[in-house]
């Protein structure tokens, strides 16, 4: 089926595929396949079945929850060679893409049509669209327009039976159950994505980007809540705290104020009248809460602000060699309170934290900084992480806003879901994949009823870094 240069079995190549961008180590890949089309993916699945192995789909490997970490030497199906833009229909606002296509490459290819793909994860320069579908990825600009699921019209999927099937419809309406919706965000556990029909969004005629600076994180968070409560749904609202502002300024010089405790980036887009009125109102709400307001004067200044935001993770390496990025969501009215609790938790565990996150959605992203060479540090990092998850759930939040569950939060699922809830998710899994052959060991806790949420030892030994 696949030529030998596209099936890799050497120990080094398999060990490279044993990890993704999460902190999990100890994954073990079996044969690593690089198909170029749907028929070859079917061949990989058939071969895996004949040899009694699981299959794990993998895009660019940028996932942060360990979703692509192979457990038990499965066949790893890497989609990086399936990276073509198959078709664009600008009138119907739909494009078919292969799963290995890079997120930003798609929006670049669409620029001549005045269209783009709305989800823009921070990793968009390297992450793949198949991976975006797998995790139901988000990004700063998902506040008004929704995460990946709202931008996927249809997916072609190879099921573990080896059949290829199209779920959904590129025109937007397929009779029957919304199998497309059930598939998006299933973290590679319902099949392997071989093509995606994405919904294309027209580029906005007007954009205004505001940089608001505050003396306290509390005032920044209160302003975000006030904007939402005022009936404004900006294209994006991001908060960055003092620690990350300093790291970013030193790294890219985005012009962020170094004396601020937090900045809020608010982007408004749409037709010019609404954008101007809303920008004025956001500025008013910020000033009422003690903030200062800078409006990006031109595209260059706007691009620089976003460069600062999107460089955050790279900038951290100046401070500590390792970081653990968390991802929880809380109701938008509870942001300030949960942020304060995050700082307390981090102090209690004697760690450093930076906060840079999608505040408009209530999507927290505390980054815990550490140096893994420091003895005992991982215990503190994990204890603080658990406490952040518990504080988010206690405030009426959820486990993950955009990274997914993967291995990372699998054993936390019972904190959010009852046995009956988890059983229903397992039924969905079995309907698609009766033999549980696709990406086993992720998302659903084993037995789907384990009450001991801190039992990280249930995860194969060595997987936690």
């Amino acid at each position: 089926m696949l030529p030998s240069d596209r099936v890799r079995v050497a120990p080094l190549e398999r060990s490279i595929m044993g990890r993704d961008a999460s902190i999990f180590e100890g994954g073990q890949a079996g044969p690593v396949c690089f198909p170029t089309n749907t028929a070859e993916v079917q061949g990989c699945v058939d071969a895996a079945r004949r040899h009694g192995r699981a299959v794990v789909p993998r895009g660019a490997g940028t996932g942060l929850a360990g979703g692509a970490v192979p457990l038990g030497e499965p066949v790893v199906v890497v989609t990086t060679k399936m990276n073509q833009l198959l078709s664009v229909d600008a009138d119907r606002r739909v494009a078919w893409v292969q799963p290995g296509m890079i997120n930003l490459d798609l929006s670049r290819a669409l620029a001549p049509h005045g269209l783009h793909f709305a989800p823009d994860p921070s990793s968009q320069q390297v992450c793949s669209l198949g991976g975006n579908v797998g995790t139901n990825a988000g990004g700063p600009h998902c506040l008004a327009l929704g995460v990946t699921s709202a931008h996927v019209l249809a997916v072609e999927v190879v099921l573990t039976s080896g059949e290829a099937v199209v779920l959904g419809d590129p025109d937007g309406f397929a009779p029957g159950l919304d199998l497309r919706g059930a598939y998006v965000g299933s973290e590679g556990m319902l099949g392997i994505t071989t093509a995606v029909a994405v919904r294309l969004t027209p580029n906005p005629p007007a954009v205004q980007t505001l940089l608001l600076a505050f003396d306290t994180v509390d005032a920044a968070a209160q302003t975000v809540s006030a904007v939402i409560a005022d009936g404004i749904v900006p294209a994006a609202i991001e908060i960055m705290d003092k620690n990350i502002i300093w790291a970013v300024e030193n790294f890219v010089g985005a012009g962020f104020p170094l004396d601020a405790a937090a900045v809020v980036i608010v982007e408004l887009d749409g037709l010019p009248g609404g954008v101007a009125a809303e920008a004025d109102r956001v500025a008013e709400l910020a000033v009422e809460r003690g903030g200062s307001v800078r409006r990006a004067a031109d595209e260059h200044e706007r691009a620089l602000i976003w460069k600062g935001r999107k460089s955050a993770f790279g900038a951290i390496a100046q401070i500590k060699p390792d970081y653990y990025l968390h991802d929880t969501v809380v109701p938008r009215t509870r942001l300030a309170e949960v942020m304060n609790r995050v700082y307390e938790i981090v102090d209690e565990h004697d760690l450093q934290v930076m906060n840079v996150f999608h505040a408009g959605d209530g999507n927290l992203h505390p980054l815990l900084l550490y140096d893994r060479r420091e003895p005992g540090i991982m215990d503190r990092v994990h204890a603080a992480g658990s406490a952040i998850i518990e504080a988010s759930l206690a405030a009426g939040g959820v486990l993950s806003g955009e990274h997914g569950i993967g291995i990372e939060k699998r054993d936390y699922m019972p904190l959010m879901f009852s046995d009956a809830d988890l059983d229903a998710q397992a039924r969905l899994r079995r309907a698609f994949d009766p033999d549980e052959m696709a990406n086993p060991g992720k998302v659903l806790p084993t037995g789907a009823s384990c009450a001991d949420v801190n039992a990280l030892d249930k995860i194969p030994e060595g997987v936690w870094g």
Binding site: S149, D171, V398, F417, A431
Partner: protein, 303 residues
């Protein structure tokens, strides 16, 4: 309504659904025969009714599935908000979600399937099951909410839901004229609706007053003029992509951008891929192996 009262209502709904005999949930009977008729004599139950909690600053609302959509809309309107549900007179929140038809404004406001954040439903074994989560963004586990929208209650009976709300715009306008719907779509940035019957285009604009006026000016240059509103949607829904417009018989309206056309006479649906049919059968076998939930209804046959 407190959280405790809401929980008690859900418990009694679950008890009423029970664990054994066939049962159908009834809302406003506005779409009662979509996807098939439930057998004569099937026991009927009603989902809890009432807005449970609404914090305008969170832009989410928790509501009993048996609540009429107009009652929900009135409660949200007080805070200047709304949901992307079709406001069919007499229909219930659970009913319109289970039927899964988009509001006529889905092009600009978003699809019905994206409105549902969390659902508590009664499963075939009488247990209460929660799908999704209360926040506007959530990827914790499989997305069962999407599967429930349009499922005609064949996988579980909706008891209570959390929906995303949106601000109501300050200005709006319907226009109509004999223009090309694709040209309208190309020239206007974000129309909330474009309907087309093969000759006339109806389009809806909403947003900031000056933007609506500027876009209306563009529409007028294409041959449209201001009208009171669109014609009523014909009764049956078909996938527009599967038919050329001239093949659609009778009175019809294409809802541009959602792949949907509404027709007065039901057309046979194109055959689904056998693999898609098999997935439907396996899902039904997993979620309701005894076939007791909303018997007689088939999502694949829903027009």
């Amino acid at each position: 309504m407190t959280g405790q009262e809401s929980a008690a209502d859900l418990e009694s709904f679950a008890a009423e659904v029970g664990t054994d005999d066939p049962v159908a949930v009834v809302g406003g009977r506005t779409h009662w025969t979509v996807g098939g008729r439930c057998p004569e004599g099937t026991r009927l139950v009603r989902a809890p009714r009432g807005v449970r909690s609404f914090d305008p600053a969170d832009m989410t609302v928790r509501v009993g599935a048996g609540t009429p959509v107009e009652e929900l809309d009135a409660a949200l309107a007080e805070a200047g908000q709304r949901v992307n549900l079709p406001l069919t007179p007499g229909a219930t929140v659970g009913g319109v979600l289970a039927v899964g038809r988009d509001d006529m404004h889905a092009l600009g406001r978003g699809r019905l399937r994206d409105a549902l954040l969390e659902a508590v439903y009664v499963a075939d074994d009488g247990r209460l099951v929660k799908a999704g989560g209360p926040t506007v963004k959530n990827v914790s586990g499989f997305d069962l909410c999407r599967l429930l929208v349009g499922s005609l209650g064949t996988l579980g009976l909706l008891g209570e839901v959390i929906l995303r709300t949106w601000p109501r715009p300050t200005a709006q306008q319907w226009l109509a004229g004999p223009c090309d719907p694709m040209e309208v779509r190309r020239r206007l940035y974000w129309p909330s609706s474009i309907l087309w019957d093969g000759q006339t285009v109806w389009l809806h604009l909403e947003g900031h007053e000056s933007d609506v006026e500027a876009e209306a000016e563009v529409a007028r240059s294409l041959g449209c003029e201001t009208v009171d509103g669109p014609p009523p949607l014909p009764e049956h829904r078909i996938p527009a992509g599967a038919f050329e417009p001239q093949e659609i018989g009778g009175r019809h309206l294409v809802q541009v951008g959602t792949g949907t056309a509404y027709v007065s006479a039901p057309s046979p649906l194109p055959d689904s891929d056998p693999a898609v049919v098999a997935l439907h059968q396996r899902l039904k076998a997993e979620f309701d192996p005894r076939g007791r939930l909303n018997p007689g209804r088939d999502p694949l046959a829903a027009t």
